[in-house]
Amino acid sequence: MVELEKISANIRYTLCDVSSKTSTPHLGSCLSCTDILSTLYWQVLNVEPQQPKSKDRDYFLLGKGHAASALYTTLAYRGYFPIEDLYQHGSDGSQFEEHPGIHAPAGVETVSGSLGHALSLASGMALSAKVQGLSNRFYVLMGDGEINEGTVWEAAMFAPAKQLNNLVAIVDFNKLQGTGESCEIMHLEPLDEKWRAFGWHTIRVNGHDHQALIEAFDAAQVQQQPVCIIADTIKGKGISFMENDNNWHYRIPTVDEVMMAKEELGLK
């Protein structure tokens, strides 16, 4: 796990640096899902960065498209493209749009940005794969704000009805959405019981504990129904002055703040 922690720390630092240099918002949203992404891309997904379109790959779909930077940075560290490319974020003609578009770099499977699409897309993919007898698996990361969207619950009712056990949903449950506390804006809890009642094999874990995440993803492999992992996370995780401060949904760090973050992350 030391390696995954190191990778996550580097990703977190690059997220802050890219945000600062390119004025990319949603840092808090990116930091809360960093450990989930590093676990997926280093320990779970069957992917080959040099062959991003290989037919037998597993698919990762980012539902919370505003955390695009977290996905781009993870893909860069995983070897899909050079880390330096990330600094093109948001510039004219860049593949790295604030929300992933159709020109997004290798490894980004679908367009994202409008919330509540990814679980439906992945349900269709998972169904299609089953009909064709394919062994691909499909992973969807959603925010706790994103699951306000009604379509999420349409898909949540559909996937178990078709026993889509090649589908894994992960909720980055950081308790803060755009402008307030997720559990005050909508009645979310008990979130794991909710998904269970919808027919999903549901596992609730600490979304920053790599070992716990690995065990949850391992357990997800052997179910007869789709799996939902409720990952309890902290918005802004890893950088003390960003943690649980919702200003960092939009705020851009200064150069000094990036240096403070680097120090807190134990990087030189």
């Binding site: 409008s114 897309l121 992945a122 269709g124 993919m125 299609s128 349409e154 009805a161």
Partner: protein, 306 residues
Amino acid sequence: MRNAFAAKLTELASNDDSIMLFYADIGNRLFNNLKEVAPTRTINAGIAEANMASMASGAAMMGHKPFIYTITPFTTARNFEQIKIDIAYQNQPVIIVGTGSGLSYANLGPTHHSFEDIALMRALPNMNIVCPADADELAILMPQLIALNAPCYFRIGKKNEPKVHSTLPALKFGQAYVMNPGKSVAILANGTIMPVAQQLHQELLQHGIEAELVSFHTVKPLDSTYLSNAASRFEHLITLEEHNVNGGFGSAVLEYYNEQCMAVNVHRFGIPDRFIDQVSSQHTARIKAGLDIDTIVNTLKSRQVL
């Protein structure tokens, strides 16, 4: 027309393993034959049209050629944003089928009417729009839409639409089909309003006008070759559609001529910009909307076309 859709889909799906149908819990027994030949590819997606549209896109990304099917407002307006992002922007070959379009379900009220669907779909890049006039047109055009391998909106009627062609027409996607060649006036009809267009054609004959009658089934891409020639061939063009007169087929024709700086007399007939309710049938709804032969003829007389 929906029976023809189910029959044609069954035929096509039995020869092509990639064809898949998602339907939103309508059409009791309509797809029984399809279920026989393609049980794993006939999917009742539940009354969840937005999820259905995105799922179809996901299935297309994995190599299927999906259709989504339900009553028009629920498969165009209810799930519009899913169509915009997951089908149009991501350019996936999903065929969106709206059944009972326009005033087909007149007596079910405005919840089941669709006068805005063509306008919505026209505004989406990558989207093709085809509106067959009857079951024959549907069956001839459907395989061509699959061959497009692109997003497509297929606007169909309900059931028992009158047969409008005496022999099977050689329709081609994207090309206006001339049913009766004529001169001075052309009647361009889009979709299931065709029987009214045929009535109008007869009416004009009685006034000594041998009008050209055209099945203009494809709204997008618009047949610019036909329209360009029509500008010099005819004094008046009459467009007919069971859609809001603004934003649909007639508007597309006007916009084409405007872009080409061509001055053409275009007379648009469609549903006026208001909701049509308290009606018992498609026939009375058309009268209430002014989309009946008498109102059309009177309007044309007032404009000195007749």
